[in-house]
Amino acid sequence: MKKFLALFLIAAFLVTGVVGCGKTEEKKATEKQGPVTITFWHTFNQQETETINEIVKEFEAKNPDIKVEVQAVPFDGAQNKFKVAAQAGNAPDVFRAEIAWTPEFAALGYLAPIDDLLTPAEKADYLEAPFNYNVYNGKVWGVPQVTDALALLYNKRLLKEAGVEPPKTMDELVQVAKKLTDPKKDRYGFFYRGDSYWFLPFVWAFGGGLIDSNDLSIHIADPGSVQALKFLIDLRDKYGVVPKNIDFANDYDNMMVGFKTGKYAMILNGPWATSDILSGPEFKDPNNLGIAPIPVGPEGKTGSPVGGHNYVISANTKNREAAWKFIQFINSKEAQAKFAAKNNLLPTRKSAYAMEEVKNNRIVSDFKAVLEKATNRPVIPQGGQIFTDLTPNYQAALKGQKTPEKALNDVKAAWEKLLQTK
């Protein structure tokens, strides 16, 4: 019996270690008198953090009665960190939430609606696609800070040497990529990832879909989606224009290195990657980077996933007015223009696009053209979780472990279950 107990304790201890992954207490600044303090968590990368810190400093100089405590949270863990903090009632007053997290946080009751604070004029200034991610259940839960979409990035020099133009259709993509491919020299016309976010543009181009936000119908197993997956497999097996063996665990880094060194002539990526790309040897001349919309499919359709981030106010805030004042400042057209000029981030305010420093940024204006054809991912609370089942099945199809039809039908079945959780 003693032995059994000892074994039980060992096993119990190890298991609870897994299940009970700790809740971290967040220190919260509560000051009742004098200047109010608001806390702000953001997920900016290093270069962007410098920009936001400047803007926050400006805000504090202009508003001596409001102090801002800024905390940088790594993007990867930010969703869970915010959830845990909000669950314990310790969420920061202002948070920079990825667009797909916003409806989820709203459905969980973690956010404060801002309908009464947002004036119609201000609302009208925001671009429609990114703004829509803030609307859930008939209420507005945040304002878009930045928007993005995947575009076809290409190495102008390589395309010119091969005597080809950037592809406008999926057929042209195959033709152009063929001319740019030489496996003997380890050069390929195109590269795709084992991450299903990179699969979405193809889904839409071939007439497939994800989940309809209105009637919650699932389109991932539609003929168009299946055709898109077959097309990707053909790119590798039939046309040989992408590497045979793509290392899924390292594919983002490998894609970036390969593109920066001219190994891959065309890739899909978003504005966030441009400053990294321009640091590469192939792009010493920044004009060598070409940015084009996603090629259109057989029926002339196209699409690219709209990404981006929103500023939201948490439900447990004690200083909603101050938090809103802060958001308005850090999301003013001037602030957005600053991010555009320094970090190539795409503004979400129409008025920001009219400003000189945004107009003069070629990368921003090129991506703007892509964005005009971009597609919203489903604006539903489960929107952030659709990839948990899409990626493994997508990979299984790429690896030939499942047929494209079977893989996407399995995704459909998993999503049906996902949509039932509420």
Binding site: L7, A11, G194, D247, N250, N254, T391, Q395, K399
Partner: protein, 300 residues
């Protein structure tokens, strides 16, 4: 004698309280969650009251018997993962321990070097190995290409090569523990036994099988049992190297339970996985100690 037992309980009390708060309460709570449909929407928070329901054995039914459940594949992965790892941990650890138990020059330095994998935080090692296994720029492919003219292999995106990669990494990580434990066991074997065997003219092989192995058994038993439990629940290596991919090819039960809890936010289902993992480990521990006992050695 009997009168004084209460003192023992007083001394045990702080531990018992700590265990109750940190182990038993969460454990029982976790087990109770496995009978509910708890997820992030109905778990409740300071703004919304909890509304999850008791669903009986529905979670267990779904995990064990539903046709689209990944459970059996993942269990197979877990079994392959655990036993391959422990087998190599033990054999290589034992061989190294035997070598280091000899009187060789620079023994202290070797011992220290052998401990390096253990001293490095496991996530650092995992990232380093992921880089070495990189299909395009990794050291291993470079090595194979330079010396054997082999085509590059995308180690981490084929099921069996990925399995090989995570197991190799974990073997590398787990050897030091086994080695140190075995070395401790070897050094506790009385020298007189070997001297007596020498007098009787026993060969080294005979000495190994008739003295070393039997006397090492208690240590080996605890070490392999611990090793099995640790490996069964080894989260870092797989999560950081492959994330369970490609296409769930290297997913094991704990990584899947984690995903169910913190990516899908199905706490009920995830707790079910937790309980299943716990039951396996308890069953295995009991079975294993029986086997060890039947083999003629008193353990404990």
């Amino acid at each position: 004698m009997r009168k004084n037992t209460w003192i023992a309980y007083v001394f045990l009390l702080p531990t018992l309280i700590a265990m109750a708060v940190l182990v038993f309460y969460p454990l029982l709570l976790g087990i109770s969650y496995s009978f509910t449909d708890m997820n992030q929407y109905n778990m409740g928070n300071q703004f919304v009251p909890p509304s999850y329901k008791f669903v009986g054995l529905a979670n267990y039914k779904e995990v064990l018997f539903s046709s689209d459940s990944e459970f059996w594949n993942i269990l197979l992965n877990t079994v392959i993962w655990t036993f391959t790892n422990v087998f190599f941990h033990f054999t290589i650890g034992l061989i190294l321990a035997l070598l280091l138990n000899q009187k060789i020059k620079g023994r202290a330095i070797y011992r220290m070097l052998m401990l390096v994998p253990w001293a490095v935080p496991s996530f650092v090692s995992a990232f380093a190995w992921r880089w070495m296994f990189n299909g395009e720029y990794g050291f291993i492919n470079l090595f194979l290409k330079t010396y054997f003219h082999l085509e590059p292999i995308a180690w981490l995106s084929n099921k069996w090569t990925a399995m090989f990669a995570v197991i190799l990494t974990n073997i590398w990580l787990g050897i030091p523990f086994m080695m140190v434990t075995m070395l401790g066991g070897l050094q506790s074997i009385p020298r007189e036994l070997y001297e007596a065997a020498d007098v009787d003219g026993a060969s080294p092989v005979k000495k190994f099988f008739n003295i070393t192995l039997p006397l090492l058994k208690p240590v080996a038993f605890s070490a392999t049992l611990l090793g099995t439990i640790w490996t069964f629940n080894m989260f870092n290596v797989i999560y950081l190297l492959t994330g369970g991919g490609p296409a769930r090819g290297t997913e094991i039960l704990v990584t899947y339970a984690y995903r169910e809890a913190f990516a899908n936010w199905n706490f009920g289902l995830s707790a079910t996985y937790g309980v299943i993992i716990l039951s396996f480990l308890i069953a295995f521990s009991i079975f294993y100690s029986r086997v060890a006992k039947d083999a003629g050695e008193k353990v404990y």
